[in-house]
């Protein structure tokens, strides 16, 4: 069985990796937002032939905004995890020192620490572990929800590609933009897959 300090060290490293992936998705979502704005202008210039592309670009912009909100919630959740893990780290340190004190003590000191370690400390560490498990479950659910939003974005990007084919003289420019969308959303999907793998590790 892993010790509390091994557990907490692993949790902290996982949180750091999760945060890094979240940062990367947030940056990409911001990029999609800008790309969608450019696509909307391009569609307006293309006029009647790119009406469908314009609608999809608006949807992609909404998608980017939803994704940014979702990632902000995810980040808040990982902050909550840091707080809980920190409490566990602190508890583990206290536990370590008290265990040393227990080993060195005799008489009343020993019996005091025996009782103390058996009751309050055990309960406290178990409670922190439960909190971390609950946070991880919520984090997993949120990553799954985000993956669904991104799947919708992927469908929008593919549809934009089809619409680009009907863009007349603007077709190749629209195709370029929709391919960029598809590639960028692919990056986000890979980041989410990494996040899922980290949660499972």
């Amino acid at each position: 069985m892993a010790t509390v300090s091994q557990d907490t060290g692993r949790e902290l490293r996982r949180i750091v990796r999760t945060n890094e992936e979240i940062k990367s998705v947030v940056a990409t979502a911001f990029k999609i937002n800008l790309m969608a704005m450019n696509a909307i202008f391009l569609a307006k210039r293309a006029g009647q032939t790119a009406l469908g592309f314009g609608v999809l670009s608006n949807e992609l912009r909404r998608f980017a905004t939803d994704l940014q909100k979702q990632m902000a919630e995810l980040r808040e959740m990982t902050y909550g995890s840091v707080t809980t893990v920190t409490a566990l780290v602190k508890q583990a340190r206290v536990n370590r020192v008290l265990e040393r004190a227990r080993m060195e003590s005799t008489g009343i000191g020993r019996s005091l620490l025996d009782d103390f370690m058996r009751t309050r400390h055990g309960i406290s560490i178990a409670r922190h572990r439960e909190q971390i498990a609950a946070l991880n479950r919520r984090l997993n659910q949120m990553i799954a929800d985000t993956a669904q939003i991104v799947e919708l974005g992927s469908v929008l990007a593919r549809s934009a590609k089809i619409e680009a084919a009907y863009g007349g003289p603007f077709s190749s420019a629209l195709m370029q933009v929709s391919s960029d969308f598809e590639r960028t959303i692919g990056d986000i999907q890979r980041s989410l897959e990494n996040l899922t793998k980290q949660q499972d590790a």
């Binding site: 020192v97 004190a101 005799t106």
Partner: protein
């Protein structure tokens, strides 16, 4: 494990020194902790750092029930003085910690909450341990900018924090100063470097000269007794301080 030594006892009034841990790693400075007991009540003076908590707790509990410690006095903010606070609070969350007002919002980084701290005003105050009144004596800038010592008029003991401290070499680490001239060499460098204000030093010397002190107990090193206390004050008043030498 440290040793608990009774250094004063008069009826139910007692001073216990928690000293000299042979298993202490040499990268940690050695510290003395003191427990003042009156009847069933006690105050722990400068309880020490996190790392030495086991040694202090185990030694202390051979003489007194640690659950009955109601108060902690921290002479100043250093980690070797008070970083174990959160561990003591585990046993008694109602524990009160007396510290200079200057540090009252810094020390909670070690543990405790708003209810834990009693901010000592610059002029000092009285603390009661059961029936016994202890006087908090200002010692600002010696070495901390918010610094106090504690005087027990019944035992005639002054707990002097870092003043009087000495870094004793192995083999010369007895609990009491035996040979003042030999001992003071181990205190000189420490006082020159750590004590920053000559004016504060002279004020302190004048203040404590008016007290009837039979024992002066520093946080590091050995305890001064009787005539050695006066000799220390005379030595300190003329010492050039605030210098790197």
């Amino acid at each position: 494990m440290k040793t608990a030594r009774v250094i004063f006892e008069d009826g139910s009034h007692k001073w216990i020194a928690l000293v000299r841990d042979p298993s202490r790693p040499d990268y940690l400075i050695d510290t003395n902790e003191y427990l003042v007991i009156d009847n069933d009540d006690a105050i722990l003076l400068d309880p020490g750092g996190n790392e030495i908590f086991p040694a202090v707790f185990s030694a202390l509990s051979t003489e007194f029930d640690p659950r009955k410690i109601r108060q902690i006095f921290a002479s100043h903010q250093d980690p070797d003085i008070i970083s174990s606070l959160s561990l003591w609070l585990e046993f008694n969350p109602e524990l009160k910690c007396y510290i200079s007002w200057l540090w009252a919002s810094f020390i909670p980084h070690f543990g405790g909450n708003k209810e834990t701290f009693v901010a000592i005003p610059d002029a000092g105050m009285d603390i009661h341990v059961d029936n016994q009144r202890l006087q908090v004596i200002p010692a600002h800038y010696l070495h901390s900018s918010g610094n106090f010592h504690l005087y027990d008029p019944k035992a005639k003991i002054l707990f002097s924090g870092d003043v009087g401290a000495a870094l004793l070499p192995p083999g010369e680490d007895g609990l009491f100063v035996e040979d003042f001239d030999r001992h003071i060499r181990h205190a000189e460098g420490f006082h020159r470097r750590w004590m920053g204000s000559d004016k504060a030093k002279r004020d302190w010397c004048s203040r404590v000269s008016q007290l009837d002190i039979q024992m002066m107990c520093p946080q590091h090193g050995a305890i001064y007794r009787g005539e050695q206390v006066r000799r220390f004050i005379d030595w300190f008043v003329q010492l050039e301080i605030g210098v790197i030498r």
